[in-house]
């Protein structure tokens, strides 16, 4: 439809196309303006990047295309490119007198659809409209795919820009998701679209989606595919934000890994571990490459995912290769969470502010959640929800502290979905409306006082992690972490901190992400992948390991080992204390002989309840570890 429309207007299309030209050099700008006018485009000019951004943001579809110089005094052209691409998904063309291939490559990697070298010839400008059409086509295609889901917004180029492929896939996936969860998919769609345009809406959706997701998951049962799809969807979004996420991911990578671990662990635990699913999702994400994936992955892991998201670990997520982890049940959850996370991730990137979000969310979430951590049962459900949360939690956390308050999630938080802990900080940034909730549950655990202490310590570390962008991706992880520890503080620190904060203290070096006991095998994978991400989440992982070890003699050990690895890396020493706690849990849990992480998680949760701080903390650690 849209495409047709475009085709129909093709002949006339270039005429009147609205271009925004940005160049600090007045001579060049005037020349560019005249050239563009000669091509019959509708031109607006400015010599300041900030003004340009303002103009673009004022009215989303005010422009069809942006042409910007690379070297500008008030803002780097690439930065502008990133922001525009992420937020608005407008095609951006870079201009420069410098034809250095490195710069051209940089432009490409940051998402520019073309790179022109000065002096520009008018012939070159006559063809730039193709970029607009192309993008619209992709968007519309994606939209069509997701049909139900994405609303047509090709024009606005909502977040479909780069991951065109991804989008379509996602859309398809999304549709599939729909089958599973009609509600969810729809929500996802909405989220998806919204994500492109506004952060806030996304966050909200994620929470809702999360809920839906949980429901869906419960109903649908275990479907690995779903998470993937969801992740894909999320990935897609992430992709566009890739650049941005990348930054975040880097930071969060550690966290992400932790989360992943956590997620893995969580995933193992029970179906509720959507994380697992998310892990898969992550795997998918990975493909997307963006850091986003990491985030997304994180989301899937309710706990684990978080880790991923935050850190550049998103990429790590790949490692997680949820495939193994993907617990069927979790998968669903994860997928949904992933979606949510994905969305959240998306959100996050845009909202570089995440750190703040997290902090806000976390504290609230944590507190509430922690308290709530009621039974494990909730946990699973929460996990799922948390999973979303984690993704969204990142964002949500910040924003939706209220989410946490929901008592239900508490158990989840603890789970290990660690995601929550992650999100605390991280999610907040992103969009995690979800995460906040989930986080709260687990994270806010006041009982986790023990953890808190540790977390605090760890938090301090992570702060650095989270505070930054990495937070985005990390959110999930952070959320997790925070959840455990008094989250309040932790979350704030950074989702990234999760890894650090969680200080999953190398509790178990073996921790390596494998936390997930359940699919131990998977977990391992996860753990490994996590370990990569672990940077921040390392700590979390440890926990996971611990848990796994504790729980299932067989599974747990695997996890534990893995976690240890993960944890050791990222966790800042402060977490060491934390580690101790973790071990505790396993011990406590061990007797239970949980086979899957889920059980562990649950056990943990219970323990938490029993132990109050500990358990909560532990759960958290899972996530964090992840």
């Amino acid at each position: 439809m849209v495409v047709e429309g475009i085709r129909g207007d093709a002949e006339n299309f270039p005429v009147g196309m609205r271009v925004l030209a940005v160049d600090d050099d007045p001579t060049c700008l005037k020349l560019l303006e005249t050239l563009l006018r000669k091509c019959h485009y509708n031109v607006t000019t400015t010599n300041q990047a900030r003004v340009a951004l303002k103009m673009i943001r004022e009215k989303k579809d005010r422009f069809d295309l942006v042409i910007s110089d690379v070297h500008m005094p008030d803002m780097d052209g690439f930065k502008l490119l990133e922001l525009v691409g992420l937020e608005m998904d407008l095609p951006v063309i870079m201009l420069s007198a410098n034809s250095d291939p490195k710069l051209v490559m940089k432009g490409v990697t940051h998402g520019a659809c073309d790179y022109l070298v000065k002096p520009i010839r008018i012939e070159e400008l006559r063809n730039i409209w193709q970029h607009v059409i192309r993008r619209k086509k992709v968007d519309s295609k994606n939209q069509n795919r997701s049909s139900n889901q994405t609303k047509a917004h090709p024009a606005s180029g909502e977040g479909h820009g780069s991951p065109l492929a991804g989008n379509t896939d996602q859309n398809g996936k999304f549709n599939r998701k729909r089958k599973e969860d009609d509600d969810e998919t729809e929500d996802n769609d909405n989220e998806y679209e919204d994500n492109g345009t506004q952060k806030k809406p996304r966050v909200v959706w994620t929470i809702e989606l999360h809920r839906k997701f949980v429901q869906a998951v419960n109903q649908l049962g275990i479907e690995k595919a779903v998470p993937k799809r969801i992740l894909d969807m999320m990935n897609v979004e992430g992709l566009t934000r890739e650049n941005k996420y990348r930054l975040y991911l880097k930071r969060i990578s550690t966290v992400a890994t932790q989360q992943a671990n956590m997620a893995a662990a969580l995933g193992v635990k029970d179906s509720g571990f959507m994380h697992m699913g998310s892990l898969d999702g992550f795997g998918d994400f990975r493909t997307f490459s963006g850091t986003r994936l990491g985030n997304v992955a994180l989301s899937s892991y309710p706990g684990v995912m978080l880790g991923r998201l935050n850190s550049p670990g998103n990429v790590n997520m790949r490692n997680l290769t949820p495939s193994s982890l993907v617990q069927p049940t979790l998968a669903q959850n994860l997928s949904s969470s992933i979606n949510s996370l994905g969305k959240m991730n998306l959100v996050l990137p845009t909202s570089n502010q995440t750190p703040s979000l997290f902090q806000g969310i976390q504290p609230s979430l944590e507190m509430d959640q922690l308290q709530h951590n009621k039974g494990t049962a909730n946990f699973t459900s929460i996990n799922n929800s948390r999973i979303f949360r984690t993704g969204s939690a990142g964002a949500a956390l910040g924003s939706s502290n209220s989410l946490f308050n929901s008592p239900m999630s508490n158990p989840l938080l603890l789970h290990g979905n660690t995601q929550q802990p992650l999100s605390g900080g991280r999610f907040g940034n992103q969009s995690a409306p979800f995460t906040s909730e989930s986080f709260n549950n687990g994270v806010s655990d006041p009982t986790n006082e023990n953890w808190q202490n540790r977390v605090d310590a760890s938090k301090i570390h992570p702060n650095t992690l989270l505070s930054a962008e990495p937070f985005h991706s990390q959110l999930p992880l952070n959320g997790l972490r925070d959840n455990n520890s008094s989250n309040g503080t932790y979350l704030q620190n950074n989702p990234i901190d999760l890894s650090s904060g969680l200080a999953l203290p190398p509790f178990e070096d073996s921790r390596e992400m494998q936390c997930q006991v359940g699919p131990m095998g998977d977990v391992q994978n996860m753990a490994q992948s996590w370990s990569e991400q672990r940077q921040g989440s390392g700590i979390v992982n440890q926990k996971m390991d611990m848990y796994t070890g504790g729980r299932s003699s067989s599974g747990g050990s695997a996890l534990v080992q893995q976690n240890g690895k993960l944890v050791t890396e990222s966790i800042p020493r402060s977490n060491e204390d934390f580690l101790f706690e973790q071990p505790k849990l396993p011990s406590g849990l061990a007797p239970q002989g949980y086979d899957s992480l889920d059980e562990l998680v649950n056990a943990m949760i219970k323990r938490e309840q029993d132990e109050n701080g500990e358990f909560a903390f532990e759960n958290y650690s899972f996530g964090a570890g992840m």
Binding site: D24, D25, T27, K30, L31, T34, A97, I122
Partner: protein, 136 residues
Amino acid sequence: MERQAAYLRNALFDQGYLDEQFLQLEDLQDETNPHFVEEVVKLFYTDSVRLIQSIELTLKNTPRDFEKLDKIMHQFKGSSTSIGAKKVKKECTQFQEYCNVGNVEGCIREFQEVKQEHAALKRKLEHYFQLAREAR
């Protein structure tokens, strides 16, 4: 008058002061934009003064900040390229090369060349525009 203007214009091209880019500018000049070329050139000279001053200052500071010099010169070069100032552009490139190897004397010397070419072209173009205006 017209012939004189045309003659001067061709000479500028032949002598290498201007390149094809200047032709592009001329192409853009039409009824809706009758003085486009002159406007752009004026804009260039006004703006480039600022850049030249900036380089002067930076050259005076020790130790020489080559990175900054290169950056400013890059901008200056970009502007010059836009109006087709061929000789100026050449000197700019030379200056940047000296910057890259940290040759202070080379930079200072080359900068003089840049200024010279910059001023020479300005004179010639002003003369040309004057002739062109009278010819109209």
